[in-house]
């Protein structure tokens, strides 16, 4: 997949800007605050239907303006598409080839972008919610069915939590429980399937980008007692029965995929608390690379990669060799204040200081 043209109007700090990109990608540089991340954010708006930094489209509108508008030309699976997005304080519109899409989630079926963020380290060092967000997004890009299933799960979870807060009759609760168990287990099966493919690739990739030789492990941690060798649904059903009292007392669902965790560990110690900064940084970059690798395998086209000043964390020679390998397959965007760090990358140079 690649982007060849981007037009921005009233987007963040850009009043009006038009950029043409080469198939290999670009090195975007300029001093801090010039809008490098804003540019990456604008491109990836078309992959997620929203910003990766804020939920509120209104924050994306240039100060003192009433609306923003983005337009981009993408090539996906060999076909050309024109994407448009605009929003003012009331209405948001996204079009593909001049046709409005009805749900932003539809975009997941088209464009796939993997964004390497400086905040990614929180996937390892942060709370479980950060890891669930990482995997939920990665699996949604891998399989659109997962995204639909996940939305259904959260809808049922919301209903079930509302039920626990009300005066319910037991039969009613049973019908919600059964649906909850059914969809919860489908979500978990999806995640386990994904992990089966993810883990061996991660081990491989990590050893390529890190000097360390510790043993890496990833484990799915259930929020309920899941006895090995027994049926997942039965385990969840039994657990719900056993914890019914505490669920009613705390007025919410206390187990299910919305509370499960996926734990990374080095030599059997949790990476979250035992990994060094360097280990953790290499690990998240490896995880993002595997995310991209799995999308490529499934989608028969390669996602666009965006490195927001994260390669500086790696050993320079290693970073160079990784990029050279990736450049052959992916369109790559790198944002950095220090263009010198990336000498020899042979990418189109975009100096934002000359354009803004």
């Amino acid at each position: 997949m690649e982007i060849s043209l981007l037009k921005l109007q009233n987007y963040r700090n850009f009043a009006e800007l038009e950029l043409i990109f080469e198939p290999e990608g670009a090195l975007i540089h300029g001093k801090n605050g010039i809008g490098k991340t804003n540019l990456l954010e604008a491109i990836s708006y078309f992959a997620f239907g929203k910003s990766f930094r804020t939920k509120h489209d209104i924050d994306l509108i240039n100060f003192s303006k009433a609306f923003f508008r983005l337009e981009a030309n993408f090539t996906i699976n060999g076909k050309q598409f024109v994407f448009e997005a605009s929003a003012d304080k009331n209405i948001k519109q996204i079009k593909i080839d001049e046709t409005n899409i009805s749900k932003t989630s539809e975009l997941f079926q088209y464009l796939k972008i993997v964004y390497f963020s400086p905040q990614d380290i929180r996937i390892i060092s942060g709370p479980p919610a950060e890891r669930r967000r990482f995997f939920d997004l990665a699996i949604s890009q891998y399989s659109f069915n997962y995204l639909q299933l996940l939305r259904k799960y959260y809808r049922i979870l919301k209903q079930r939590n509302a039920l626990l807060k009300s005066k319910f009759n037991n039969l009613e609760k049973k019908t919600w429980d059964e649906q909850f168990i059914d969809i919860a287990c489908q979500v978990i099966e999806f995640r386990l399937d994904y992990l089966k493919k993810f883990i061996p690739l991660l081990t491989d990739t990590y050893s390529q980008i890190s000097n360390n030789h510790e043993e890496l492990d990833v484990k799915y941690k259930f929020s309920f007692a899941n006895f090995y060798g027994e049926n997942l649904k039965d385990n969840l059903r039994n657990h719900l029965e056993e914890t019914e009292k505490s669920e009613i007392e705390s007025l919410r669902s206390l187990s299910g995929p919305h509370l499960d965790d996926i734990q990374f560990s080095f030599d059997l110690h949790p990476a979250r608390s035992f990994g060094s900064q360097g280990q953790q940084r290499s690990l998240v970059i490896a995880a993002r690379l595997v995310q991209a690798n799995l999308i490529s395998k499934k989608a028969k086209d390669t996602p666009i990669l965006m490195f927001d000043d994260v390669l500086a964390d790696l050993d320079k020679e290693r970073a160079l060799s990784i990029i050279h390998l990736l450049k052959k397959k992916h369109q790559i965007f790198i944002a950095t204040p220090n263009v010198k760090n990336y000498e020899g990358f042979h990418l189109q140079n975009i100096n934002l200081e000359e354009l803004v």
Binding site: Q148, K152, Q159, S166, F168, N169, W176
Partner: protein, 199 residues
């Protein structure tokens, strides 16, 4: 900018689905500038219809006559009962010409978020209807949403003792659809519920 009666009219029009401030203003302006006879006829027609429509005492559908013309039509198949969410769904099913039985309108689907539990879906009235007549098949024609699914399984569990056939609408490929463009969730459902070519 609008005041008095006109502002009130705009506020009232805004209560209709799909009508925002701008449309409400446009409609209100149109109403006061159109032929008075026509506007008043519209007002009268709204008043008469709203006043005279009520829930059918048997099946719950919104109707002018009580019982409704479905419940009082004995040429319809008295053995099949189709349960729907609202009155509009009845007309959609009638349009298919595939069903000639009786109807029952729940008015709601189970939805704890909206405070709707089993007491809010007219269940006692439904049991009353089931007791009196010789119904041998119940069709649950409800949306396959989270709320619809819960309502279906709740009702199905209630019907277990009745020894009637309980069915639901199938979910699968749309007519004239294309396998290539069908989401794999839908395609999976269609496979699970495949049927014999001879049926």
């Amino acid at each position: 900018m609008f005041s008095g009666l006109l502002a009130e009219l705009v506020q009232n029009l805004k209560k209709l689905p799909g009508i925002g401030s701008k449309s409400a203003q446009r409609l209100a302006m149109y109403l006061i500038s159109m032929e008075k006879v026509n506007a008043l006829e519209l007002a009268e027609s709204i008043q008469n219809t709203v006043k005279n429509y009520k829930n059918c005492s048997v099946c719950n559908m919104l109707t002018e006559n009580n019982p409704c013309h479905f419940c009082s039509d004995y040429t319809r198949n008295q053995n099949q009962l189709c349960i729907v969410e609202n009155t509009q769904d009845i007309y959609l099913i009638e349009d298919t010409n595939e069903f000639k039985g009786r109807y029952f309108v729940l008015n709601n689907l189970l939805s704890p978020l909206d405070g709707i539990g089993s007491d809010e879906i007219n269940f006692p009235k439904l049991l009353e209807l089931l007791k009196s007549d010789g119904i041998d098949e119940i069709i649950l024609a409800l949306n396959p949403s989270a709320e619809g699914e819960s309502t279906i399984s709740f009702l199905a569990s209630q019907f277990e003792e009745l020894k009637v056939k309980v069915t639901r609408l199938s979910t699968g490929l749309p007519f004239g659809g294309d396998i290539e463009y069908t989401s794999s969730l839908t395609l999976g459902n269609a496979l699970k519920r495949r049927y014999s070519v001879k049926d």
